[in-house]
């Protein structure tokens, strides 16, 4: 009982904290813990014999402080011991994998369905004599909007619709800026498809994600016609969706084409009779297209009638959804192997 009476909480705390700091191993730290917080420690004995509220509170505060210091030191030591152990596990990183492992034997991997579609689209257009252009993803508003004839009031210019880095820099909202760069780089004939990520400020839900992939074509040459646009897309759609597909074109409006049209493909599922995939219309909407607006030629410094051309744009994910019957956009970004492994 005498011993209890002599405990000075401040000294005890100081002593315990120093001991914790000095412990060099987890084992040593454990000794410290037993000594200062164990069942027969001075602190525990003192706590057991507390008579007044104030002393009890003081001693408990000491206990908590020491507890916290021990825990922190324990993490530090554990981390140090881990690092030490890791260093001893050192391997010769220059050795071939076969001598290091050997590596696991894994079944062949798979490409993402969007990549499968992307490669297909690339191959179809390579066959048509087009070049494939990746383009940059971060663009100036000059190339993303001005060059493409987006009027000042166009909603896409708003930060509510597009992702800006600053007033003049935007994550491309379509892959078309790459087409303007190509036009500035050289004179026609130009036959190109730009493919890649594009960005919109969309709230994520079953059918929207702020990133998706487009393929956009541009053909500029002497004597290109709207009929050539129809013929080219018919070929591409038949390559993608089967040789029996028919197409129709509906008038639309886009800033950089005039006339502008939305291409529809006859439903590959029902053949036009009407089903849920084509929303019972017999036709599936594919994207946008049109005859290049002469404004673009003037933008890059060409005469308005030296050339004519056509342009079109479609979605990679949408193509994959249609081709594989994938519902919604989420599976494309969830990266669930049970989904991905099916695309062989």
């Amino acid at each position: 009982m005498d011993k209890v009476a002599t405990v000075d909480p401040t000294d005890l705390q100081q002593e315990a904290l120093s001991a914790a700091a000095e412990a060099r191993t987890l084992a040593a730290l454990n000794e410290v813990r037993i000594h200062y917080l164990g069942r027969s420690s001075a602190l525990k004995l003192a706590l057991r014999n507390v008579r007044d509220r104030e002393t009890g509170m003081t001693l408990n505060a000491v206990r908590e402080t020491v507890e916290a210091a021990l825990t922190a030191r324990e993490e530090e030591l554990a981390r140090a011991e881990l690092e030490e152990r890791l260093v001893t596990e050192r391997v010769d990183v220059t050795l071939p994998a076969q001598l290091l492992g050997p590596p696991k034997l894994r079944p062949r991997g798979t490409l993402h369905p969007s990549t499968l579609v992307r490669r297909d689209v690339e191959d179809i257009f390579l066959g048509l004599g087009y070049e494939i252009v990746d383009g940059r993803e971060v663009e100036t508003t000059r190339y993303n909007f001005d060059a493409l004839g987006f009027p000042d009031w166009h909603p896409a210019r708003s930060p509510r619709a597009s992702l800006f880095l600053d007033d003049h820099t935007v994550l491309r909202t379509e892959t078309s800026p790459a087409q303007i760069h190509k036009m500035e780089e050289r004179r026609p004939p130009i036959y190109m498809v730009s493919i890649g990520r594009v960005y919109r400020r969309d709230t994520i839900d079953a059918t929207h994600f702020p990133i998706f992939h487009q393929f956009e074509g541009l053909a500029i040459d002497e004597g290109i016609t709207l009929a050539d646009l129809k013929g080219t897309l018919l070929h591409v759609m038949r390559e993608l969706y089967g040789p029996d597909r028919e197409m129709r074109f509906r008038t639309h409006y886009f800033p950089f084409t005039e006339p502008s049209m939305e291409p529809d493909v006859s439903c590959f599922n029902c053949g036009g009779a009407g089903c849920p995939i084509c929303k019972h219309s017999g036709w599936i909407e594919m994207g946008g297209s049109g005859v290049v607006d002469p404004y673009l030629y003037e933008f890059v410094g060409w005469g308005p009638e030296e050339y004519t051309g056509f342009a079109f744009g479609m979605g990679i994910e949408r193509t994959a959804q249609l081709r594989y019957g994938i519902a919604g956009i989420r599976p494309f970004w969830e990266n669930d192997l049970r989904f991905l492994r099916q695309f062989r």
């Binding site: 690092e83 890791l86 596990e89 391997v91 990183v93 220059t94 050795l95 076969q98 492992g101 590596p103 696991k104 894994r106 079944p107 062949r108 991997g109 490409l111 990549t115 490669r119 690339e122 390579l126 066959g127 004599g129 070049e131 494939i132 940059r136 993803e137 971060v138 992702l163 800006f164 880095l165 994550l171 004939p189 036959y191 190109m192 990520r197 960005y199 400020r201 702020p210 040459d221 004597g223 016609t225 709207l226 009929a227 050539d228 129809k230 013929g231 074109f249 509906r250 008038t251 639309h252 005039e258 006339p259 005859v291 970004w333 969830e334 990266n335 669930d336 192997l337 049970r338 991905l340």
Partner: protein, 754 residues
Amino acid sequence: MRIPLSWLREYVRVDATTQEIAEALSVSTAEVNGVHRAGVTGELGLFRVGHVLEATKHPDADRLQLTSVDVGEDRPYSIVCGAWNFGAGAKVAVALPGATLPNGLVLERRKLRGELSEGMILAEDELDLGTDHTGIIVLDDALEPGTPLAEVLPLVDEVLDLDPTGNRPDLFAVYGVAREVAALLGGELAPMPGEDPEREGDEPVGIGIEDPEGCLRFIGRVFRDVTMGESPLWLKGRLRNAGVRSISNVVDVTNYVMLALGSPLHAYDLDLLRGGLVARRANEGEKLRTLDGAERTLSVEDLVIADGKRAVGLAGIMGGEETEVSASTKNVLLEAANFEPVGILRSSEHHALRTEGSNRWEKGVDPYVAGQAATYATQLIVELSGARWTGAEDVRANLPKPAVIRLRPERASAVIGLEVPAQEQAEILGRVGFERLQSGFRVPTWRARDVTREVDLIEEVARFKLPEVPFTLPRRQAMFGRLTRPQRLRRLAEDALLGAGYAEVYTPSFVADGDLRLPEPLSAEAAALRTVLYASLLEPARRNADAGEENVALFEVARVYRASGGDLPVERWHLAGIADGGFAEAKWAVEQVYSALGIEPTYERTSEAFLHPGKAARTAEGWLGELHPTVLDGTWSAFELDLDALAEAAPQVAAFEPVSPYPEVRQDLAFVVDEEVSAAELLAAIREAAGELLRELEVFDEYRGEQIGEGKRSLAFRLAFGSPEGTLTDEDVAPVRASIVDALATRFGAVLRA
């Protein structure tokens, strides 16, 4: 834009079914989202005019009437009814058992408080013609009982759901769509509706335009002795089918005329206005409580309609609450104006207030149509409210003059790729309102914003000929048709990883933090562009492992972004992977990639906070290693390579040497070295010492054991020597071997194992 077909057909007489109209519009004019039936969905014959023969109180219910109704059958029907605003002799709207009400209720013959009820006497809300349930609809006494109700009331209509593009404000009006239908299908277009009634007086209105840029035209008309009330059922039915709520006769007229002609209008309670109306910029900080009850703080960016004291409306977007017409309104001031689109769009966005009105103004409404809208509204207000029209003013800023554009028919044919005769082109343009003059075509006022150049006229021709345009391919003078080198190599790298068992993933380009921040992030986790790929793979790896996958190996090919100091960040293609298992997994994958690209990499030990300190390496193009156990639970390895750098490092053409006809001499050499000496260092030294006779070299075994000694290991190498000049003998090779052993001993203290 919902277009009730009965309304459309009032303006255009055309021999075409609804389906044909929808089809033609969708190909040549605007997207048709669908055609649906509004109002009564079931059998229409079950809705009849009824003649109430008797009406008495229900014996067991004070609030119910028992009626006997002649519905044109051979016997009267007994119907129990809860309304009391009619009695015997009234002509009423009846739905018979089996009828389906617009709300989906199917009527049955059933007992109500013990009395048989065979159908229902209808109130407005039961036919979806209004919200009024206070009394049943009392019809004209002259009607014969049994008359189909559809002949008397707007029970049902087909509604075309049209989605016009922003460049066609004229299509946000039933009349505008009628004009297209007439042009497309050869119908006869009626003149625009509306004729001014006689004006009973000439009192001043006091209209002014202070901001002629924002307000091009302002028509004000005064009506006295207005009897406010409900709209007639035909009007309620039309509005319902067009998706607009009925409010009161005067307000309904403004909405009806807007839907008919596309020019929005507004009605003010004249007695609540202080002086005339002027269109002006708002004062900074000026307050206005709009009709939706919200108090709005305005700025000079906003255009307002103001009376002598204050703003009474956010021009073109929404009127003010204080001056709105109400049941007690006696006198009305009608506004028909024209507002400039961009200002309306900005204001509407700024106040997050989109209305039927703003939706039209922001697309650019024809200022010339405001006059007809005022006329039509005047006619209807006088007809429906019994008001006297007593004052009119029409203030105009400079209305744009219609442009005249030249069209070369041969140019149109050349762009379209279809020979369209000049005469036919002129006819097509004529049908949509382009007047042919000596110098070209005069653009109709309702298309002035959209049609400004020859190519716009060509589009008009093209959209009418779309189905006839053939499918052709360009006649090519030059071909490209090849992937670029980086694109080919990217595919090779991807395919190499497939071989190593990796599945490709797509992860977002955004991360929580980085130099390239979005000022308005998508979320806390998507606030900056990523500078590395591997970090995005941790989450999918963990999630797949958690789902019980026992073979998780993922890769991604995508861009990373780094601030460049210039206008735009630097973008590089990267290739990253992650796999369950130790260092060998990453090493194997990286070896496969390098091998596929024909690059001989140099591996060096490296250290990164996120990598295992003893199992991390870098190459000239990236890094690989086992992940530090604190990064991800379990043993994982990862790698990330700069694909653009790999493409530069890859050889353009394979280096080839003729195959030697002479056999090679093979030798295996094993050396004991200190742990610190890497296999790569030994390989390099052997290669250097061996000189040009060395054909092949690889390390094929690593061994540690007691006889080797603590801190040491043995590495075994397989060497092959050869010469294009002849077969080598052991004597030829011996000095080479000696110099290798010597070099390794000198440089690394390596001891050859016997």
